[in-house]
Symmetry: C2
């Protein structure tokens, strides 16, 4: 351990009680962004955070209103020539239902002792106030180290921008608008997202890829009205049968998507990446408990993690045809509506996948059946942090130091606002999160492991020094 890291650890340790007390203050503000009754609380939450950035000496701190809930923006760009990092997080929290399953009130956080150290219980403890809070502590620790080095005036060794939104738990409905409206001010070299977790307590890891998305719906129509299945059944086309044949034809027997050119350009993980993924401990029984399914299925030749992380999919999200209410109606339906989504992986482009599907679908629909196809938006590009990206490498070094353990790579099967960040700001996204799979985000008794939050603070302090060349 270097002397500098020892000093950093000491700083974080000395400030840990204050850190937890401050975070508990923040957690007491019930900033449920989806509930208009809490609009005032979301505002208060934003103000709380603004005050903390100001207290750290951050020269630019603003509350950014949106058509929904406000975001907090802080900027400290005093290191010409150093990289600029935009940190993303959110200060809104999930609703708390079912309330009676909480062992303590969701907005009256408590600290309990466990075999792994102190644990903080409360809504937002890890998702995402706890992880935003470790950035505040990490920045303070970094500034203390800069101060010890004797630099004046004291400022971060990198250029930092923080964008902490207030609508993530609502699906970030105004986020892309906000990014586009402020894209010049948000210019950066990389986005650091702290809103995720590690693979497991003993497995520090970094997410390095998210699947993209193309989704839409098509309607098959064979008649203007439903027809009596007695009078006409057997002689007229049935759109439910046609839809079924199309859907059944989406995959071959090995689970591969049969749309021509669907896999064209797909960047398959190389042997070393697959080896790294295979290193991640995978508990199938636990996974089945999570999915509430009895089996796992998918494309032959790939593991469950690979199937959800690095392989593209074609999935039917909904079907409605004919009569589906109580009892029966002996009709030949006149139409069938099918909702579908494709998850894309690096190498696949949404427009190309949309075009390939349109072509294939057109070929599947028999004469005499009308089809109308529409896509929902332009799709989301898959993203992949280049494994040799210097910021990713710096995050690996930071986490390796604080966890004293090999750091593995994971992926995410889908993407949220991260995709907007990557797409609109046109920079790589790197993840640094210290949540655990059992943190019960979105559920009663959400918790954060305080030692992990402190490691998060250490990691970002190391990261800023590393990227600023002052480590």
């Amino acid at each position: 351990m270097t002397a500098k890291y020892a000093q950093l650890q000491a700083f974080v340790s000395e400030h840990s009680d204050k850190f937890v007390a401050d975070l508990m203050d923040w957690l007491r503000i019930p900033s449920i962004g989806t509930d208009p009754a809490h609009d005032g609380d979301v505002r208060r939450s934003a103000e709380w955070l603004r005050d903390r950035f100001e207290a750290l000496g951050c020269p630019v701190v603003e509350i950014w209103p949106t058509a929904g809930q406000p975001a907090v923006y802080a900027e400290w760009c005093s290191a010409p020539g150093a990289p600029t990092v935009l940190v993303y997080g959110h200060h809104d929290v999930q609703p708390v239902d079912p309330l009676d399953e909480w062992t303590s009130p969701p907005f009256d956080p408590v600290v309990v002792a466990t075999e792994h150290g102190a644990r903080l219980l409360g809504r937002g403890a890890i998702d995402d106030k706890g992880q935003v809070a470790f950035h505040l502590l990490g920045l303070a620790a970094h500034l203390a180290a800069v101060d010890l080095d004797g630099s004046t005036p004291v400022h971060p060794a990198v250029n930092l921008k923080f964008l902490i939104e207030g609508e993530e738990e609502s699906g970030s409905p105004h986020f892309s608008e906000l990014l586009r409206a402020n894209s010049e001010r948000l210019t950066c070299d990389v986005v650091l997202v702290s809103d995720t977790g590690m693979y497991a307590r003993e497995t520090p890891s970094i997410c390095v890829g998210m699947r993209g998305l193309v989704n839409g719906e098509f309607e098959l129509r064979t008649a203007q009205v439903d027809l009596h299945s007695g009078s006409f059944g057997g002689a007229v086309p049935n759109p439910a049968h046609v839809a079924a044949r199309i859907i059944a034809g989406l995959h071959d027997e090995s689970g591969r998507v049969r749309i021509p050119s669907f896999y064209e350009g797909v960047r398959e993980p190389d042997a070393s990446e697959r080896e790294l993924m295979a290193k991640l401990p995978f508990d199938e029984a636990e996974y089945l408990r999570t999915t509430t399914t009895k089996i796992l299925v998918g494309e032959a030749g790939w593991s469950t993690l690979e199937r959800t992380w690095v392989r593209p999919t074609a999935e039917i999200n909904g079907i409605l045809s004919g009569y589906a209410g109580t009892g029966h109606k002996t009709i030949v339906p006149s139409s069938a509506l099918v909702k579908f989504s494709f998850r894309l992986v690096p190498g696949q482009e949404p427009p190309a996948i949309a075009a390939a599907f349109r072509k294939w679908l057109g070929e599947q629909v028999p004469t005499g059946v009308d089809v109308s196809l529409r896509f929902f938006g332009d799709g989301v590009r898959p993203c992949l942090t280049p494994l040799d990206h210097p910021v990713l490498q710096a995050v690996v070094r930071a986490l390796t130091t604080v966890f004293d353990s090999e750091v593995l790579f994971t992926r995410e099967g889908g993407s949220g606002p991260e995709a907007d960040l990557a797409e609109i700001l046109a920079v790589p996204v790197v993840f640094l999160g210290v949540g655990l799979p059992d943190d019960r985000i979105h559920a009663p008794n959400e918790k954060a492991e305080i030692p992990l939050l402190l490691k998060g603070a250490e990691a970002v302090a190391l990261l800023w020094a590393d990227l600023g060349g002052t480590s």
Copy 2:
């Protein structure tokens, strides 16, 4: 033409004005059985009919209440040794929406002249008051002929029972109950249904078969909750895909149902029956206009009429899986609901078809997917009037006489209360109806061709004499 038939024609002709005037009175009663606002009208309609049977001298006339609308029952069984015929019809009528498409008020019937003779316009003109009314006139004509023969007391040469229900347009919800409760009084040798039509104006025809029915629904379940298609898509089973594969596997490429033993026992029409069906003029363009479809499809090797009349089918009536509302929800659904119906033909028994489907379905559902299957009721047996049945032969003779034309045989693709009659009373059902395909039943401007109603009256008068051995 025999002298007796000439006398009959003269009687019908002399009474035709009175017949039309009476029928118009009845049509002015808006007996819409499905609309509680018209309960009093349905009652009045039943009373009107009761009075007419009584005026004819019918010894037993009753109004039979049900949990819904009342039926009228009349009985004149004074011919020991002669067959007993139960005549079925209904006195309730369809609603009249859209009202603004009627060229004259639906319950203010009018007679208009056409190239084919006088036409009666009004709700119920043919479905079914007009056809019940021709039975009243036919019975009067028959009694006049009996009187001319000098028999005393004057009574029908056959034993007649009339059951004219009041809920046919509501799907006869209490009809089977009524039949079971009165099965002894309704004992008969044959049921004569007068609620259908002929194939075409120039093609007098008799329906000799109705397809049966087995229907139900099955639900496939793969998880307890819908799953995020990003996080889990590609690794968990999708019940919409499973449902699609099952439905796609229901038929082979030639349109045949692939359920083993489905066709076991099916009595195929012989060459002469197929020749008779092929004789029926079939206008594909007109059929497509009726179905509003662009194409006709079905089992290879059979004509459209055969596909709907003499071939069994497997039809999906509805599917619901996942999200089918507006916009999108990127989920892997947790369940899929599928509604199905099989139309059965002579030789197929509902319990055997249900069992064959249950077995086949069980084999299609992959491990890890839960399936629950339920059938709606016990199904409906297909029925077929034996072509050599003496009453059918008598109806053929009667229609051949009154139309002076070859009488062809048709079938119906489904069945309504007729199936209950055949099943519960355990007798053959024979059809005698004079509606035309363009009579616009259930639609605005319903009409009846008065010359055809008069031919209906002649036909039943001939039929009673024929069956009673007095022709």
